[in-house]
């Protein structure tokens, strides 16, 4: 009977295949299908920090002047061949010659000026500017066709790093709304966007760089992780950048990678009982973070600062807090004996699906804190309402709270983390400590060793002395990749999927 059913299944499959009805995404060609979690709202170059935009656009359609090497974190040339600082607030960039946009327009200093103008437009809010160049105005001076000078409204020692996010776009692109048909210098061009269904791109013949192996790509989107994983398993898609740890059940196709995200619970360090260092330390010691890894994947690393090892300013000498519930109990008892109101309710501000198993992690931590005698309550919010508690002015400033947070710093410098998260004036900061402020102020205008050391000292101070956060993990992400592809995710996979980096395995 079982055999009969198998024959029946095989027969029907065969018939369908012969009829060409079952889709085969990679039927003998060099195109790939990528399944994303969501449809991009646009493909506007100045919105490329939106991950759904960036994954299609960056390195495929548009390119920046400089790039960060995901392995070393170094800034490298792309459309600029070299650069130099000519004054504290001025930089000169030398452009690659012989590059053309896909519409035939030459890539030159005027095109760079147009791209900067696009970034600073006022008819819409460009998230690239907001997220990386917030508060900085850039003036462009065309020196000659292939030399351009930038003057910034304040000194920025890491200007070449910041330019890694500015996508160069054709001066012929209009400035009306967010573009759905971007024109860049990249190796691919958009050929179709069927709203709600798919986007297709094709390889350019006149690309300035090395010709990629992949001749074209189709992007589709499914919000369900299980479905994305199933699409790659069945061959309907070749790769999906994000699946949940629960769906990553096939070691042959599912690859984990450090995704640059670090998780924490921000402690409101100025509100009792959390203004007592012993209570903050007890919160950290009570968490069995090795045990909780089951929720995030074994590849997750215990964190001890809010940036990962790829970031300039990361301090490798800080040791993560060890799990020690007895010591935690003792610290709480000591604080109580000194009159600290440890019985006061501490509110955990959670955000639904901020990362996989976010709610489950909070529930487990709540149980662990209950074991050491702390009284916590969880309030889960959607993103919009969670953000009210993320930024100053805080809506309930007297509430003792632990704010669930996840932060990425893919630009490779601690300046994109420290001021906002820990300076007294930082928009997300729940810390006010002059020593930290001074270190940040010392690091920001500095370069080289001075800069790195000042950031490292700040992170050590925040962890060892202040205990500013409940530290959690340097996270990992999971991708599912069809075995016919020779491709591995990198730190950059969260924000871009460079089609040129994909090869096909020999057996295909």
């Amino acid at each position: 009977m079982k055999k009969g059913k198998t024959y029946l299944a095989a027969g029907i499959s065969g018939l369908l295949a012969v009829a060409g009805l079952v889709p085969h995404a990679h039927a003998a060609n060099e195109t790939v299908t990528v399944v994303l979690p969501e449809e991009p709202p646009s493909l506007e170059p100045c919105e490329s920090k939106h991950s759904s935009v960036g994954r299609v656009l960056i390195q495929n359609i548009t390119e920046p002047l400089t790039v960060i090497d995901p392995q070393t974190g170094e800034v490298k040339p792309e459309l600029a061949t070299r650069w130099e600082q000519t004054a504290p607030d001025a930089w000169r960039f030398y452009l690659r010659e012989g590059v053309k946009f896909s519409d035939g327009a030459p890539f030159d200093a005027k095109a760079v000026a147009a791209s900067i103008e696009r970034l600073q437009r006022t008819d819409m809010t460009c998230n690239t500017k907001q997220q990386t160049l917030g508060g900085v105005d850039i003036k462009t001076n065309v020196v000659n066709d292939y030399v351009v000078e930038f003057k910034t409204s304040k000194p920025i020692p890491i200007f070449p790093t910041m330019m890694t996010v500015v996508q160069m776009s054709s001066p012929n692109m209009t400035l009306s709304g967010a573009s759905r048909n971007p024109i860049g210098t990249g190796p691919y061009v958009i050929t179709a966007w069927n709203a709600g269904t798919d986007i297709t791109v094709e390889r350019r013949d006149d690309y300035w760089g090395e010709k990629p192996v992949v001749s074209g790509a189709r992007y589709v989107w499914r919000s369900e992780s299980a479905l994305r994983a199933a699409m790659v398993a069945t061959g309907e898609a070749d790769l999906t950048p994000i699946i949940s740890v629960a769906d990553a059940d096939n070691p042959e196709t599912d690859l984990s990678y450090p995704n640059g995200e670090t998780t924490r619970l921000r402690i409101s360090t100025m509100v009792p009982p959390l203004d007592d260092k012993r209570v903050r330390l007890a919160l950290n010691l009570a968490i069995d973070r090795e045990g909780l890894k089951v929720l995030f994947g074994e590849g997750a690393q215990l964190s001890e600062q809010l940036v990962g090892p790829n970031v300039n300013g990361f301090n490798p000498d800080i040791k993560p807090f060890a799990y020690d519930p007895e010591k935690a109990k003792q610290l709480v008892a000591e604080a109580k004996a000194d009159g600290v109101p440890v019985d006061k309710a501490i509110t955990i501000i959670g955000r639904n699906e901020i990362y996989v198993n976010a709610g489950e992690a909070l529930e487990a931590m709540q149980a662990m804190w209950s074991e050491i005698g702390l009284n916590t309550q969880i309030r889960m919010f959607d993103t919009g309402n969670w953000l009210r508690y993320q930024n100053k002015p805080f809506p309930e400033p007297d509430m003792a709270n632990l704010h669930q947070d996840q932060h990425d710093n893919l630009l490779g410098d601690a300046t994109f983390t420290t001021f906002n998260k820990y300076d007294t004036e930082g928009v997300n900061s729940a810390v006010s400590d002059k020593r930290v402020d001074d270190l940040i102020a010392k690091a920001e205008p500095a370069t080289g060793e001075t800069r790195t050391k000042a950031f490292q000292e700040a992170f050590a101070l925040l962890h060892d002395d202040i205990v500013a956060d409940v530290y959690m993990y340097h996270m990992v992400g999971y991708t599912r990749v069809n075995p016919r592809l020779d491709w591995r995710p990198t730190l950059a996979t969260n924000s871009e999927i460079d089609l040129s980096s994909i090869r096909f395995r020999a057996s295909e």
């Binding site: 709202p41 819409m124 709304g177 759905r180 709203a195 709600g196 369900e224 199933a230 919009g384 953000l387």
Partner: protein
């Protein structure tokens, strides 16, 4: 006069709906929290609000909305930066096609199986069909969707997992979408037919020697259709509001998914445009239902 009155009521309810949607959507919060980076300052948020007119008093915003509406300007999507109505009109045909096909199948199936079940209430066929329709009406569609994908796409490889394409792409989404309306309509047809089949005119038809097939499918069925059409109308309106689960799971670019995404992103113009399009569709549906009543029931026609 009656037509004029009914049209006026319809327009008033549309206006009420738009009013409600305008104010309710704005109560969900400030869009700048979702459209600007986490670290955006209060000044950045204020600039964003000013750019999009959210800093004006709510009555000024509403006045502007009404004036724009009268000029057929339905606003610009915050996330896509293009016409909100274009986005809604791109999505709606996908939902309309899916829902129409699902309802047609559910309707035909419910009439056939409901009538068969009513033929001998309490009999074997009746019990079997009742179990089937109750199961269909009470099974969570999200669960069914994932299970069917795992069986037919992943394990057997007979059907695609999701997406929009040839006939095979329709099978699982349609099956999932048909299940509940089929269950509910099947029960309504059964109940209605049992009543009709015990009516004096059916006994008269039997006495006159009419065939059973003719009695069931011509005489009794026509008279049983009014409650069925009423329930089918409600189901169609619900589905037009968005077959959200099916659209989300199967990556179907319909208006239900669009609406949910717009609500989550506080993209007010898209919420308003989507609801306006859906409301118009439901309005047309109600007119069609009224016509169906008139065709089926002479009493309505003469009244």
């Amino acid at each position: 006069m009656r037509f004029f009155k009914r049209s006026l009521f319809t327009l008033l309810s549309m206006a009420g709906l738009l009013l409600l949607v305008f104010f309710l959507s704005r109560m969900t919060g400030d869009p700048s929290y979702l459209f600007l980076p986490l670290d955006a300052s209060a000044a950045d948020r204020a600039a964003f609000s000013q750019l999009h007119g959210f800093d004006d008093p709510i009555y000024v915003q509403f006045g502007r909305y009404v004036v724009d509406l009268l000029n057929l300007d339905f606003g610009t999507s915050l996330s896509q930066q293009r016409s909100a109505m274009d986005i809604a009109l791109e999505a709606f045909p996908h939902t309309l096609t899916l829902v129409s096909m699902a309802l047609a199948i559910a309707f035909a199936g419910a009439i056939l199986f409901g009538s068969l079940a009513a033929r001998k209430p309490g009999g074997m066929i009746d019990r079997l069909i009742s179990i089937l329709s109750l199961t269909g009406a009470s099974t969570p569609d999200f669960w069914v969707a994932i299970i069917l994908v795992l069986i037919f796409a992943v394990s057997l490889g007979w059907l695609p997992t999701s997406g929009v394409g040839g006939p095979l792409y329709w099978i699982i989404p349609l099956f999932v979408l048909v299940l509940r309306p089929f269950g509910l309509l099947g029960q309504v047809v059964r109940g209605s037919m049992i009543n009709a089949l015990s009516s004096p005119y059916v006994k008269t038809a039997y006495a006159k020697g009419a065939s059973e097939q003719k009695i069931i499918f011509v005489h009794a069925l026509r008279n049983s259709m009014l409650p069925v059409i009423t329930v089918a109308g409600d189901l169609a309106a619900n589905l037009l509001n968005g077959a959200v689960i099916v659209e989300t799971v199967f990556g179907w670019p319909g208006i239900g998914r669009l609406m949910i995404d717009a609500i989550m992103q506080r993209d007010f113009a898209v919420i308003q445009a989507s609801i306006l399009v859906t409301a118009c569709a439901i309005l047309i549906l109600n007119i069609l239902l009224d016509i169906a009543y008139v065709v089926l029931d002479p009493r309505v026609r003469h009244a």
